[in-house]
């Protein structure tokens, strides 16, 4: 993976307020994804295959984000470097590839196996952080232990609900 230019790299020394806002945003994301999963379940049970549902919901999501981002985003994109463009596009491609893998995994294996295995994403995020973001973020043994606990907890919930 390409690192951004050194001058653009800001070390993550987050003030308390910034950190709390980040936590709140992440909790909001988790809640939205959980609620979204209920809606997606209804859509794929009654109306379409997971891939078709994903394609349509992404088109609607795309329109909504475009309206939300507005002209400010267009101006920012005009100023953005190629690296910035490439990284943002790569985030979309990798995320969509992961989602497609998840949908196909569900058709090839029981959910009780797929959910805990795909739920290891925080472990991968921490591993990739150690490898690629050494200059931006510090990962401590305590954080790794917490991550393992969360992944084990996710596996327990998947097994318990199956």
């Amino acid at each position: 993976m390409t690192r951004p230019p050194t001058s653009a790299v800001r070390p993550l020394i987050a003030p308390r307020r910034q950190l709390l806002l980040g936590y709140a945003a992440a909790v909001g994301a988790a809640f939205s994804f959980a609620l979204g999963a209920l809606v997606v379940r209804k859509a794929v049970t009654d109306y379409a295959t997971p891939l078709v549902a994903a394609a349509y919901s992404m088109m609607f999501g795309c329109a909504a984000v475009t309206l939300l981002a507005g002209r400010g985003a267009v101006a920012e994109l005009n100023r953005a470097s190629r690296v910035g463009w490439a990284l943002a596009a790569a985030a979309g491609v990798v995320s969509s590839t992961a989602a497609i893998c998840f949908y196909f995994a569900l058709s090839a294996a029981p959910v009780v196996l797929v959910a805990p295995l795909s739920g290891t994403s925080p472990l991968f995020a921490m591993l990739f952080t150690i490898i690629f973001l050494r200059r931006l973020e510090r990962v401590t043994p305590r954080m790794i232990a917490g991550c393992v606990l969360v992944v084990v907890g996710v596996a327990f919930i998947a097994v318990g609900r199956s």
């Binding site: 994301a29 209920l38 795309c62 979309g92 989602a99 954080m143 606990l149």
Partner: protein
């Protein structure tokens, strides 16, 4: 075996996304990264869906559209934008851990909205997630 490999690939992909986003927000605001990423992802997903299930893409019932709209709004302007904002403000290791706890939020919703009952395994999982989050988020 294929299902296991695809599940692990999905987990790795979601983890890698958070790291790429952390690098992207060095160049753009989270909302702009969300916009570019969703356009790139939508093009790819549309191409895959049209190639694999073209008939399903054109034969969608009108009654399905409100569900797709709701899923799109919850997952993208809400979920993805907040996720990317969380990564930008709190860092990958903290934000992706909270977002990784989504099954706990799903369980709470299933209990509150769907009347699902909890058992010893789900309670153990809940306690493990809360303990893990407390360990990481209390780190200065």
């Amino acid at each position: 075996m294929l299902g296991i490999a695809l599940s692990i690939l999905a987990g790795a992909g979601f983890g890698a996304t958070a790291v790429i986003v952390r690098l992207s927000v060095q160049h753009m605001r989270p909302i702009t990264v969300t916009l570019v990423s969703i356009v790139a992802g939508a093009v790819m997903t549309l191409a895959a869906a049209s190639a694999i299930d073209g008939r399903g893409m054109v034969g969608v019932a009108a009654a399905a559209l409100p569900w797709f709209l709701a899923a799109g709004l919850l997952n993208f302007p809400a979920g993805r934008l907040l996720n990317f904002t969380g990564v930008s403000l709190a860092g990958v290791s903290r934000a992706s851990l909270i977002v990784g706890a989504t099954p706990l939020f799903a369980l709470v919703l299933a209990v509150v909205l769907g009347g699902e009952s909890v058992n010893a395994t789900t309670i153990a999982g809940t306690l493990a997630i809360i303990g893990g989050l407390a360990l990481v988020l209390s780190q200065q």
